[in-house]
Symmetry: D3
Subunit: 161 residues, 6 copies
């Protein structure tokens, strides 16, 4: 049986740090589903369609990686997809505590069936988050090298006016 994992996130937008985690996780698992959450309450800069397209473009060369949008309770989605694990990137102590709480809640909600597995982004992206990328871009600062090329262009268009 194939070992499948789900890598969830808002990806508003996807960064090179996200891509790095996806790239690493697909060496651990047989298949990785990148699950883009609609997250309307977060009022994302990019629509779910834009984000799906950006993520799909960024992972198009990774053959065992799929991209889907998703809405609802994460563990239900993972179970439906026959996933055995949720993959999360861990960058900072403040991430860590929230992530630990989520992981314990998800273990409980899935009655122990769904595991959470954490991976660490490379040190050169230790400062990188979607929020910081948007902040820099909103001031017309350079984001090249921090996000995929298509996202760089999309950010430029968003903040042109």
């Amino acid at each position: 049986m194939k070992r499948r994992a789900v890598c969830p996130g808002t990806f508003d937008p996807i960064t090179n740090s996200h891509l790095d985690i996806i790239e690493r996780s697909r060496r651990i698992f047989d298949e990785v589903i990148v699950a883009v959450t609609t997250s309307p309450s977060k009022k994302p800069l990019f629509s779910i369609e834009e984000r799906l397209e950006q993520v799909k473009d960024a992972v198009r060369k990774l053959d065992n990686v799929m991209v889907e949008s998703f809405d609802g309770l994460l563990v239900d989605y993972v179970v439906k997809k026959k996933g055995i694990a949720i993959i999360r990137g861990l960058r900072a102590v403040s991430d860590f505590e929230y992530e630990l709480q989520m992981a314990l809640m998800n273990r409980r909600l899935s009655q122990g069936v769904v595991e959470t597995v954490f991976m660490m982004p490379p040190e050169e992206y230790s400062f990188l988050s979607s929020t910081m990328v948007k902040e820099v871009a909103s001031f017309k600062g350079p984001v090249r090298g921090l996000v995929p090329r298509k996202v760089t262009e999309a950010l430029r268009r968003k903040f042109r006016k």
Copy 2:
């Protein structure tokens, strides 16, 4: 090709929290090698022979788990064993920072070949560490339910006099 992971530690002694992580990781990977480090500089309470025996006994029913002792540079060992990942349990913020540093160092030393994957112990063991178990046992306090049965007995013998 089999996906093999290495779960390293001093295991002085192995606790139920360690066992939980091993149990979970063997569902993610095809094979898990529990690598007991000799760690002479830590002056362990139990000899490497005792610790190997305790760990082997604790995992004897888990068919895709192997136990070995090991000494030297961890990534060299993992590469030799054809492992693709190191498994570490993450319990607390203080663990987190050290573990992050180790993971980045190991990624560098293995030139990106060896990944570190973190898993979280269940909440009922969030306070549990080998050090705390030894401290309680040294004062003749009860450790049943915190460590495998054979370790309970071994701790009692160590601190009997």
Copy 3:
């Protein structure tokens, strides 16, 4: 003279972790007042009337526990109620720093008269917060065992449509 403590919070909604802290603190103090803050700026899911009723129902069997709503500066309220201490639950490092700042501010505002006392929730609720409960409930996930029975029902009604 009776030793009275105040346990303040938004309780939107009260969880089993809150209840555990209240239960423990009433063994330390002669009387405990659970002070439900109106907190309009937090835009609570439940109205102050709903929250008061939920908390009152949850503590109805604890004879030295009272429930009140409150609005304004916490230390003024505690002094008016002749309380000697504020009780707060501490779960995570991120809580800790904010709580430390609040405790120092309150000590200063009360000129040293009002103390803050911290207690820790049991490990099985280490992942539990009102926010997480609402998130799970909003996706129709199960919250039984995490909140009092009446709150389970109230959450179901809120998110039915």
Copy 4:
């Protein structure tokens, strides 16, 4: 050549802890520019004009300290002003991680030209933040000793009605 540093912030309002950092940093550098960000997205309590006036009044006796408003990408501003460093106060662990990420991003954005230097507020202000000052003032609590005298008056006027 004069060594010039920039001390950026929203200063909504300036506190005695900010003033302490400014006072210390002007002993390290030849000139310090206090850069008040307009920060419309944070919906500040005081307008940029009010905040500029409050900061100017608070530092009027410090001869090598200037005050300016600023908007846009911080490193661009620092480079334009021929600054060599950004000064930030560090109070708590939660500050620390965000500040570290900002510092690394700013180093990257300025191609290593702009350094970030951190200083620590004195222990008596370890609990002090603009947010907490506003919260206390909103409940008519005393803020004397926490902010400059003019800010005390301004807060009283804001929350009078």
Copy 5:
């Protein structure tokens, strides 16, 4: 029945921060026992007799505070003394995690009978620890104002040669 609490520590030596916590906790509880642990494994600077004498001298005017030496499992001692709570000071995030683990372990070992209650030292002692006092004294630095007067003298004698 009297509410009794135990405030344990190595007190090598007692600092003004410890004294502050003891002073505050005796307003919460009817009686406070300061329990000085022998802690031979920590190789204390002062003998258990010296530390007991220093602590007794420092609290001699606090009528509901007793001082005892103790050795063994803390919860056993607290139960024997009919204490209902352990009092601990919380200063920093790094304290916090260890203390949380100890509190959960002690709750388990006492089957829920012994509670741990945390209090925070005043901000002016936020940097103060026995270790730092000894380090300063070892270099003949001034420790007046950080420890009781008798401890200042004792430190001077220890590091005279």
Copy 6:
């Protein structure tokens, strides 16, 4: 008057992360004294003579950087050298708290004359510490790129047998 800063440490051995901080700080200050502490209690791998030589070699091309050994109370040394600031690198949360305590203690011991200024190492060295370098070297792992060339050789000699 020249602005002079002191950058203290055990430097056992000096790493590229230390060097980076020294390089940055000499752009902020007119002169930087790298103060190598003898630290006998830490049982350093390299003697004070070896460490002095390694540091001197590493900074030999930085014209406003001096190297000295030092023993005793740091603030006394800084005052004697007419320094206005102590420079410290901040890498992790665990560093942060200890460093904050040291900075506050040193401010108090120097009666506010000596400031502590923190700088952050670049992200590519976020995992790098002298301890980790020694651990890797002790297992014959590669440390090239983490420490100056002469230190690489010295480590190889130390761990050759």
